[in-house]
Each structure stands twice: as C-alpha cells, then as structure tokens.
C-alpha cells in the first residue's frame, strides 16, 4: 500500500506539519482567533440578567389585599392541586371573627416545587402568585422550607400593586368569607 511507502520515507512537508502540530493549529484556529478578538457570547450572569418573559414562573408568594389583609382563606385547594406535595395549609377560624376562615399556618417546601403553577390556578381568591424571583440558591436546603410570613414577605416585595379588597367580592356572591361581625364569640 501507499501508506507503507510513505511511512518509510516522510516527505518534507509532512515532516514539517508534524513537528509544528499543524493539524492542531488548524483545529484551534477558531479558538485562537477568538482569543485575540474576545467578545462574550453567553449572558454574563450574575453581572448581566436576562429580561424575563411576562409569564415567567418564579418563586411562589402569598399576596395581600391593598389594606394589608392576607388574601388566603385557607381553603386547602392549593395543597390538593399541587402534584409534588409542596404545600401544607393549616386552616382555622379567624380569632374573634366567627366562621371566617384563614390559614393559620402555611408552609411550602420549595425543594420539591416544580413551578408548574397549578397551585396558583387552583386558588379561588388569587392569593398565590408566581414572582419573578429565581435567585434562591442556598447552602442549607432547610432554608427552602418557607412559612407563611416568609411567603407573604416575598409577595410584598414582588407585587407592590395590590388588589383592592371588597367585602363583597362580587355583587352576585353575597358574601365570601366575610365574618359575621355581630356574632358573639364562641365560648372556650
């Protein structure tokens, strides 16, 4: 074969290419040219941040009405809707406001959340929102176990414009989770 002949006696040009690593230089051509002419291609996070799309599904938050009251009525529906069991709601009667319901405790285990948004969809009073926050890397996973106060705080900083609170939320829905103010409190 011809190759056996060529191994026997390398031509000068082949020899030169070998000792100068010519092939590697060819392969590195693009790299080397960029080395001399540096221009970033990827987004330079954390120095640069992408504009998030409008429907971005970031960190979850609990919201308030404009008068500062929590929207959540403790209906447990987000808990039921969540496919990965992130949410735990402990609902109760609002102290001093008989028959009015709220979430006494509210927990989200964000280590499990898959940001599907089902909980937001399920909420009948729009008490849950998906913020545009995503920088939630932590050293200790337990910090991702959020309670109601933390979730409300996220809501407060992410949604400065709050929905107006109406006692009667819809003229046709005579009342919805409105306390009966004149009811004497239940005896303990």
């Amino acid at each position: 074969m011809a190759s056996t002949a060529s191994t026997k006696r390398l031509s000068l040009s082949a020899w030169l290419k070998t000792i100068t690593f010519y092939e590697i230089l060819v392969g590195m051509k693009a790299t080397l040219s960029h080395l001399l002419n540096y221009r970033p291609v990827t987004l330079q996070y954390p120095h640069e941040k992408r504009t998030l799309p409008d429907n971005y599904r970031g960190m979850l938050a609990l919201l308030r009405y404009d008068d500062g009251t929590e929207k959540c009525v403790g209906c447990d529906l987000c808990e039921a809707a969540c496919p990965s069991r992130v949410i735990r709601v402990v609902s109760a009667e609002v102290p001093g406001e008989p028959t009015k319901r709220y979430s006494k405790e509210y927990y989200m285990d964000m280590t499990r959340c898959l940001f599907c948004g089902m909980c937001v969809d399920a909420c009948p009073v729009d008490a849950l929102g998906m913020t545009r926050e995503f920088e939630w890397a932590v050293y200790d996973k337990r910090q991702l176990h959020l309670n109601k106060q933390q979730l409300l705080a996220i809501g407060d900083r992410s949604f400065p414009v709050q929905e107006k609170r109406l006692e009667l939320q819809h003229p046709n829905v005579a009342f919805f989770n409105v306390a009966f103010k004149h009811v004497p409190p239940k005896p303990d």
Binding site: V73, G74, C75, D76, L77, A80, S91, A92, E93, P98, T99, R101, P124, V125, P171, N172, V173, A174, F175, F176, N177, F180, H182, V183, P184, K186, P187
Partner: protein, 888 residues
Amino acid sequence: MTTPTAQMVRIMIDGMTVNVPKGTLVIEAARRVGVMIPHFCYHPKLKPDANCRMCLVEIEKVPKLQTACSTPVDEGMNVRTATTVVNDAHKSVLEFILANHPLDCPVCDQGGKCDLQDFSHQYTATSRFTETKRVFQKEYFSPLIETQMNRCVQCLRCVRYCDEVMDVKALAPVGRGTMTEIKHFGFHPLDCEFCGGCVQICPVGAITSRLSMYEYRPWMLKRAETICGYCGDGCQMTVQTKGQELIEVNSAHGAGRNNGDLCARGFFGFHAASHPQRLTHPLIRRHGALVQVTWEEALEYVADRVNEIKAAHGGPSFGGLISGRCTNEELYLFQKFLRMAIGTNHIDSSARYGHVNGLQAMQLVQGTHRWTVTFEDILDADVLILVGTNITETNPITGLKVKEAVKKRQATLITIESLEPVVDTMSNIANLSHHHFRIPTSDTHHAIVGLVKAVLEQNLTQPDLAQRHPTYVNAMTSALQQISWQDLQAATGIEPDAFVRAAKVAAGARRVVIMAGQLLLRSEQGYSGCLTLLDLLLLTGKLDAPGCGFAPLAEENNDQGAIEMGTVTELLPGAQPITNDTERERIAKQWKGELPTDKGASLIEMLERARVGSLKAMFIVGENPVGSLPAVIHAEASLRNLDLLVCQELFLTETAALAHVVLPAASSLEKHGTFTNTEGHVQAVRPAIEPVGDSRPDWEIFSALSILLNSPMEYAESKEILKEIRSLIPGYSSLGPTPLPPKVDHSAVDRYLTDGYQRDLASRYHPISRASRPDGTVRLELAQSLFHSGKLSTRSKGLLQVEGSGRLRISPSDAARFALSDGDRVRLSSTSGEMTTEVKIMERVPQGTAWFPSHFGQAAVQLFECAIDPITHVPSFRTATVSMMKVA
C-alpha cells in the same frame, strides 16, 4: 319494614327490569339497579317530603314528571331517569337553588363531599339569575354545631331527622319561600341532644360541626371503622384522622347496629383519647412520688414484687379489677393472667356495678347470659316495657329503636321511670309512653310487683302454666296476696287500675320486650327487680315466645363482654359458673395448668380484705374505685394498705395516684380487638391512631408480665387471643357481627319453676313498709347524663362544652319550694356526708327527686350508703335521702 308477604312488582328503570316489593319508592328501586337519582330532601330514614324537586323522573303514561322519592312503584311502571326532559328539569332545579347559593365552597367544610357540588358538576349548572343573593343574619348557634344558613337548600332533612328519628324537635324552619331558614327555638343558643344527626344528614354545608371546623378536607382523612367506646349500645362509627390527629367521627347510614345514628358521646366525644394529660410513660413510686421509668424497669419491678408477694403469701393474696371498657381480648387475658400466672380467683370488673344483676337473673330463670332478643325484635315489638332505663340519656341508640317502634310501627310503650312527661330540650321517652308509671327509682320494684299482681289477679297468666307448675303459680299468688293494692298505691302513687290496664296490654300482645336500665340494675333491687320482670314474662307465657324477651341494658360498652370472658369472680370464660367442675377441667386442660381453687372475692370483698390486710396486691385496669365508690366503702384506705398496687390507666386517676406502678394504656381508638354490645354482638374495634406516647394496649402488658412471671401467654396480635377465645368457648365461633340470639333454655326454666324461684321469693314479694320522707329533703339519685359516660368523657373537650360540670338537676316545683333558680348553690347533706353544688332546673325531674350526674360524682358519692346484694354482690349506692339547703 317490608313484611315477607309483600307483593312483588316488576318495573323498568332506564330499560332495566327490577323486582321490588310493592310500595317501594321509585328512588329506592332505582338504587337497587345502580341508578342514582339526584336528590336532596330524600333520605331512607325519613318519611318522604318531596320538597326539593331534585328527583324528578319521567314515568310512562304519567303526563308530568314525578318525584321519585315519594312515588311508590306499581306493576309495570316504566321509569326514565336520564331523558332530556328529566335532565332539563334537574338543571333548572339546580339553577333555582344556585340562584341563592353563596358558592363559598372554598371555605365550606362540606366542600368535597357536598351533594350540591356533585350535582352542579354533573349538570354543569350555572345559574342565569343575577339578582343579589339572599343573606341571612348570622346568629350564634351552639358550641358544637354551626350553621351557615346562606348555604341551606331548604330540604328540611335536619328538621325531619330531629323530629322523626330523634324526637327532639329542636329545629324548625322559620320564614317563607327562599327566605326560609333553619332555626332552633328560644333566644338562647341551641340546646338539644347534640346527636350530630343534623350535621350528618345535611346534604350541603349549612349545618357543620364546630369541633372539626376548617380542620380538614375530606380527601385528607384516613378512616377507621370502629366501635364507640362509651355505652353498651355498641355503635359503629368511622373515626377520621389526619396523622395522629383525631378530626371527626361519623357513621354511615346503614352501618352497624346503630344504622348510622350516633349520640352526642359518640359524635362529639372522641377527643378524650388525645387529651394532653394522657399518661405516656410508665411510672414507679420512689420515695413516695411517682417517677417516670422505662417499660423494662417497670415490668421487671412488677414481676419481682409479684414473685416476692406470691412466695410470701400465695396467689390468693392478689386481686384484680378491670374496666368493662377494655376489649374482649383484654378481659379474657386479664382473667387468664390472674387465674394462671398469679393463681387467684379474686377477679372483678365493672360489670359488677349492675350488669351482673341482670345477667344472674337471666341465668337463673332462662339459662342464658345474653339477650334472647335483638334490636330488630325491639323494632318489631307490639309492647315494649321500659323499667328504670332513662333510655334517652343512658342508651340513646337503643332509645332510638324504641322511638322508631313506637312512632313508626305503632308499638305500645309501658314505662316505669322516674321521669316527668314534659317537652323540654331533650327527647323524653315518657312523652311517647302509653302507660307511664312515674315512680322514684327506689320504688321501681313496687311498680313491677304491681304489674305482676295485676297479671295474677286478672287471670292473665298463661293457661297451661298453672297446670304444669301449680306450686309456682300458687306460691306467687299467695305471696302477692300479702301485698295489698292500698299499700302499692301508697308506695307508688299509682291507681290499681293503671296496673291492670298495662298488664292487660302486655299480656294480650304477641311480641313483648322488657328492657331494664341502669337505674334498676344498679339499684338495691337490681337483682330482684330483674327476677320479678322475668316472672312477669313467665307468667304471661312470653319468656320463650318468639320476639319476646328480657333485655338488661349495659352501661359500659363491654360489660357484656366482661361477663362472657369470665372476668367476674363467679364466672369462667363462656359465662359458666366457677363451680361447674366439667367446665373447670376442660378450661384447665386447654390452658395447660390448674385453675385456682379458692372461692373468689368480688370487688367489695376484695377491698374489705385489702383493708384487713389479707389481700396484699391488686391489679387495677381502667377502673377507679376511689373515685366512684362511696366513702363508706373506704376504698382509698384499703388500697393504701396494699403492698403492691399496679394500675393500667389512660389518665392519672384518684386510684392511679395511689399506685406503686402506673402503666400507660392505649385507648380503644388505638388498638385492635372486639367489643360485645349489650345485645351480644361481637364487633371489631380498629385503631384510628397510633398509641399515644409509650402507651401500649392492655393485653400486651398482661402478656409481657406473664412472660416475666414464667407462665408465658404470648400472642403476636390480638386476633390470636380471639382465636383462643373462640376455641375455648363453645358456640363463640359462630358469633360474628350478626349472631342469632340464644334461645331460652327450657331445662333452666323448668328448674326455676320447680324450685329456683323459692330462694328469694319472700324477699322480693313482701308487704311494703313505707318510710315517709321528712320535709326539706329530696331523694338524691346518681344518674347518667346523656353527655357523659364513665369518667373518660369528662376529658373530652366537645362534651365538656355541653356539660362541663356536675349540676344538681331539680324539678321546678322543688326549685320553688326551696326558692332556687338556675345556677344557685345548695348544700346537700345526708347521714354520711355533705356536698355543695349548683342546681339546674329540669322539668323532667319529678318533684321530690334530684339527680346528680354520676360522671362528676366524686363529691356526691360521699352522700350515699352502700348496700351489697347478698346474692350478686352488687354494691348499690345510687339513691339516698338528703336534706337540701340553699347557700349563698
């Protein structure tokens, strides 16, 4: 009930043919072929009301749509439930309902199990009405039951249930048209039996339980079908839990012996098990104080002490007392443990407080240890005789059977009760009674004697009885001749005529059931009263007639089981007398050992022996003699005298506080086992939660101790004990959840008629000497309250909200006499002691009588003397004459 002769008709439902008895409602016939016709106001327990119009169906040849819930089937009917016309009708009914419905499903406790929600989904109904919805003024309703009338669909199921089934009539519709709302009577919060029936039966979230308010969604809950641990009715209930948390109890329609009905104790009383004061660790007394130790330490300590005491004084220096609230398996193992591992016959259970009276009477006369009737026989009875039952408060569900028999099936009711027939906040069985004998509990026996006397004098006896057993009939006749009608009238205040009328009704009826309640069973005449009632059945020839029988009602949920497991000193497992040598041998052989030969001592005798020092050690399981026995028994001094007192308890009771070792036991919501209800149904108990803390089921404790004591009784689970029980007690294996009641044993009856009756004939039928009650005194009775059962229920937050403390119930006329009004304080004093308490005026209390609820009776028991029945050894301490004085 459909009689077996009911004519069958053949109808078509949606093209399917079904054969049903004539008179069945279309909605029920449809259910049989699996067609669910949507409905709100229909409920199988209630009379059809047809007010909601949700169940409209098309019936061929009938021009308009018909309500399936009120139309009875007829031969050849062709029903269509899913045509366009029908669907449109359903849709528009829903639209009308939704026109006013708030749709606050997210905050409604019914969400997820709501009929309206389901139908709305099914028909995708939305309402076209945009007018403003009605809003009712919300008022405070009650501590346990909450209403949200905006959600009411006005089906009136709650109102009808409360009236038809409960006979309480606490609820009523108020207002007209769409503005109809359900209210209770009066200006105070709802005050009723709190059976929870309205909560269960409301198809929407208009009436809900305040105890579990907002705590759950139906899909979060784990369910356990178990048996109520409060009274002998043995209701099946579904305990719903979220993790270790007890959330709610309910009972499905058709479930168990209670058919889905519950009383306040079952429905609202479940929190006792999760009370924060539950014992969670074994305790040992060291230097006078109880300190927490490990199980190993505690059990080894007990075993060492037992060995020492046994070596020094022998087996019979031990005694055991167990509560009739333990499971059959535990009761059985307890007596086996004491008889085999310890070697003593000193065993007793709380059945001694009264149930033994009824049992011994039954064994003597009819040779059975169970009822010969069932709840079905009560429903089918022609005549029901209630003696000292106060059935509404003591055995509420048996009470419902009586109410159904009387209200729906026209049974005649004869009551001998210390109850005034008045309408007040609770149902009152005296109101339904046709022949009511209002008699103080202490004189109940006279009234029974009056009935027997009337039977004999009016020649209402079974004709051939006098021929077969002339001596019996003659002896009875002559014994009763000594008692004159004048004396009887003086003692009972009842005209002779009334006795005669009632006796005629009873003797003339085909199916007669006599029920004896706690007031009789736990009284001094408990045993003799039961015998006399059995005499009444015998004389009228009803003892062995089908559908007739004697039914003593158990107060504790497993009193009957305690008897059958041989957990009283005079009985072996299978309720065989301890003197029966063949049984002894057979059982000893099965147990591979020797049964102790000593004659056992009953509860009071044990305490007496402990006091004089011949009894050295006691095991007390779930019982509290210090708290429940009157001071004259000196239970505390006796127990303090013991060298070793081991208590297995849920709470640190007065008795447990004296113990050397306290072992934490699991409640009936935390273990497997079986309970035998008052009619003899053995029913499965299943755990709803894990044992609280380190507590263990009682049987595991006995088992562990037996191993340490070198006579191992090892079982992997409670089922194995049940297996052993079944192999040991002949006939027990066939007793599933629906056993046939035993038959009257004719040889026993013959023995009784020949000479058995003679033993206490004279003491039962003797001329009445009447002691008059001095002025300024009342007859004090320790009574059962509907809202409590035993002492456990006083740890249940729901029940405490309805009845939080013991208040003396007095009649309005006594209140006037002593110038008292609700909440005033009085001092009661008798020869034995005194106490101060608040009064509550209750119209049903007869004049001259005052009731104190036994569950809060620690202070009250001091007032009572204690009489011990010479034959059954039952201590009775529930009536006393006390003087009453108002204090500031």
